[in-house]
Each structure stands twice: as C-alpha cells, then as structure tokens.
Symmetry: C2
Subunit: 218 residues, 2 copies
DNA sequence: AATCATTAAAGAAATTTTTCTTTAATGAAA
DNA sequence: TTTCATTAAAGAAAAATTTCTTTAATGATT
C-alpha cells in the first residue's frame, strides 16, 4: 500500500467525464433562451439514466427545483466553475506536428481555461511559425521561457518514443501537470499529475463494438 | 428496461482502454528484442496493479508462463488481433478543419486498422486539397462516394452545432459506426455504434486533479 | 537434487459506480 | 381548491470493476 496522498474520495471520474457534455448542452439551451432544464431532458440528450444526471449534479452546488428542473444559466455557471473552466492555466505544448498544431488551433481549449502560451519542436521547418498566434520555439529554449511565464501544464504531442524525454524536461522545469497524447506511459514523480489521452483507446472501443456486432448479433 | 441487444457481457471497457498501451509497450519491447515480459513489468510501466494486467490479458487467448511471463511476440499479435487492429475498416471523415486534418495526417490510424478513404467539408478553400493522399470533397458528394466504397465508419470533426446533421447524413448512407469528436451528443438509430471522444473531458479531469491539489494537499 | 523466489491464474473480497426505490415538493389541470 | 403527474433528492440495492488472497508451477540458486 502506498501511504502517500490518499485520493480524498473525490468526484467519480465518470462523473467528471460526463460533465463537459452537460455543460455543452446547457450552453446550447442558454443560447436558445430556455430557462429551465430537467434531469430527464439532460438524460434523454445524453442517452443515460436521469438519476445518473441528478447524482452527477449533486456533486456541484446546484439545487434543482421540483417539477421544474435546474436553471440553465445557473447550470452553465456552476459547471464551468466546477470543471475549472473559469480559471485560466498556462500551458506549454511540445511537438507541433499535426496533432499538436490541431490543439494550437483549437480555440475551445482557451474557452475552457487552457491558455497555451508557447509551443516547442525540434523540426527546423516549424520553428518560428505561428499557429493561432502561438509561436513555435526550439525545444532548447524551453528553459528560458518556462522561467518567465507562469506555466503549470505541459502538453506532449511528440512521437511516443520521445514522450519520456519531454516529460523529464517538463518535470525539471517545474511543471505540475502533464497532458500526454502519446500511447507511451511516462514515469514522473508522484506529485506530478498525468492525464493520458490516447485516440487509439477510443478506436479500440469502437472496433470492439463493431466487430462483435458482426459476429454476435443475428 | 430496454429489451433490445443486451450487451453480451463482453470485455470491460476499462480493460479495452488499457490494452492499446499494453500493445504499445509490447511493440517497444519487441523492437528492443526482449523475448518475454511479466505482468509485473507491464504493471510497473502502466502504474497499475499486476493482477489488473493478468486479469485484462485473461480476456485474450494468450497464456503466460509461470516465472517467465508472456511471450512478447505473441502478446503483440494477440492484442493487435483482439483489438481489431488487423482488420482494415474504411472510414469517411467529415470536417477537414484542424482536428480533422490532424486525423488525416495520423498514419497511426491506418497502422491500427482504420483506413480513411475520403474527407468532406463545406469550406471551398479546403475542397480539392489532399492531406496525406486523402482528398477532401464537398459534402454533397458524400452520397455518390459512400455508395461505391465499402465504408463502415464515419468520423465527425465538424463544429458541435453541425454534428447531428452530419450524423443523420451518415446514417442515411448506411454507415455502421460513428466516431464523434464533438462534445455534442448525437441521436442515431440504436443499431448504430457511437463513440464519443471529447478532449474537454480529459481537460476536465486534469483540471480537477490540479485544482484540488492546490486546495487540499497540505 | 533440494530449496527458494517469482510468477500466472482463479476466485474471493472490497471498492466504485450505476440503477432502483422511496419520499417530498409543486406546477398544472380539473 | 383538490387532484394529478412530474420532478429533485437521498438512500438502498445492484452491477461492474479493481484489489487481495490462495494455489500451483517452474526457473534460478544453493
């Protein structure tokens, strides 16, 4: 048993995964001018059980009104706040290839509280370029820049074989959280937060359903 | 209770999610020439419990050897096969923006059994372009092309507000599975497989850890 | 050859997450 | 004003997933 930071029995991860979709739905309703939304309505949109929705929302401070539902505006505010989308965190991105530059272009990230302040690469053809106003520097400049900016997150979008090297660099320069887009698993000190996001996991799930259906359903 | 296709108690989704990383690790060992790998070694790499690894692998046909582990080559083959990465499926991608074109550029997808045969958009500046040899057509041509090619999967990388329209189009032209990269949830007939992949869920999880750490750990 | 330590595998136990059930509230309809 | 149907919320039950425990096998060491 590891005696370190006992995960303080927080919000279930599946709940957190669902919340951004609740938020996206609520934002849509807000734009359309709808004032209240019921758990049933949200559940119908999400294709899940209504009690799942109320349970998920019970982790936030919002209180619903019987026979009416949740106030849409309040829901948007509470979820944005709860998900940490209202706090701006600065990030560095390493690996300005196709996936990396797609992330740089995604203004959704800054809308949700992630401010990518600089990108790094080793490929001289991309260095100096700007994507969505974010400049690409040579990886050697990582040190100078991480000092002067308040950067808490590192995004890894390099080839899998270089993921560990980049992670080590990020840790060395005081980054607190790493968002790893490679299928490689990185080793970091235990106080560093790592989130692995791999497309291939999703591909595996969809294939599993697709190929099983071919076999098992009449 | 819905009386339809009772999910035939398959492999747990968390297991399937982990498998691509086992595969990536095994492929690395194979390249390095390592012949056997133990669950302990895999678990150490993944930062999970070793019994989790053996349990996960027990869903495949591989059998380990006491005091030795699993044969690396066999592990690669069994996992690739199990995950459906050896079967080639054809796909259409709709929305050749930054995320869409990043996917078109990702040769990892074709390595893992996904063959994107064409892309579609409405933006005249991208139509006619080729990304990684995949041509971008106007969405109106979707029909003609889906007829002649054997396309089973549709990938949605348009803005969230257009997701449903695109999904309807895909369903109309006989697509079996949809990989939805927008935070919007789409409504499709129940025999269509949908996999939602939203970056913001992952962002929410990492923020949750990051911001909680700030608060709760001494 | 005998012992030891490491491992896979199977099943039990614990934990986590989801679904079900009950209760109380209240807007709308009669 | 009364009844009805819909809803949120809380807690119980069920289901799913992970972790723990035991067993048996076997390569390495003595």
């Amino acid at each position: 048993m590891v005696q370190s930071s006992k995960k303080i029995q927080g919000v279930p991860e599946p709940t957190i995964r669902r919340m951004p979709s609740y938020l996206a739905f609520a934002e849509g309703l807000l734009r359309k001018g709808q004032q209240f939304v019921s758990s049933t309505q949200i559940a119908n949109y999400m294709n899940i059980d209504p009690t799942q929705v109320t349970k998920d929302l019970s982790y936030t401070s919002i209180v619903g009104k019987t026979r009416v539902g949740y106030e849409v505006k309040a829901l948007v505010d509470v979820l944005s706040e709860f998900l940490g989308f209202t706090i701006m965190d600065n990030a560095f991105l390493v690996g300005a290839g196709s996936l990396g530059s797609a992330l740089l272009h995604d203004s959704g990230l800054s809308h949700f509280g992630l401010n990518i302040v600089a990108a790094f690469d080793v490929n001289s053809s991309t260095i100096g370029k700007k994507f969505n106003d974010i400049e690409v520097f040579h990886i050697d400049q990582f040190r100078d820049l991480s000092q002067e900016m308040n950067v808490v997150m590192g995004i890894i979008t390099v080839p899998a074989e270089n993921a560990q090297t980049v992670a080590d660099l990020m840790v060395a320069w005081g980054i607190k959280a790493i968002w790893n887009f490679t299928p490689a698993r990185i080793k970091v000190p235990e106080d560093i937060i790592v989130q692995n996001t791999t497309l291939y996991s999703n591909l595996a799930i969809i294939f599993n359903k697709l190929h099983n259906d071919r076999k098992e359903v009449q």
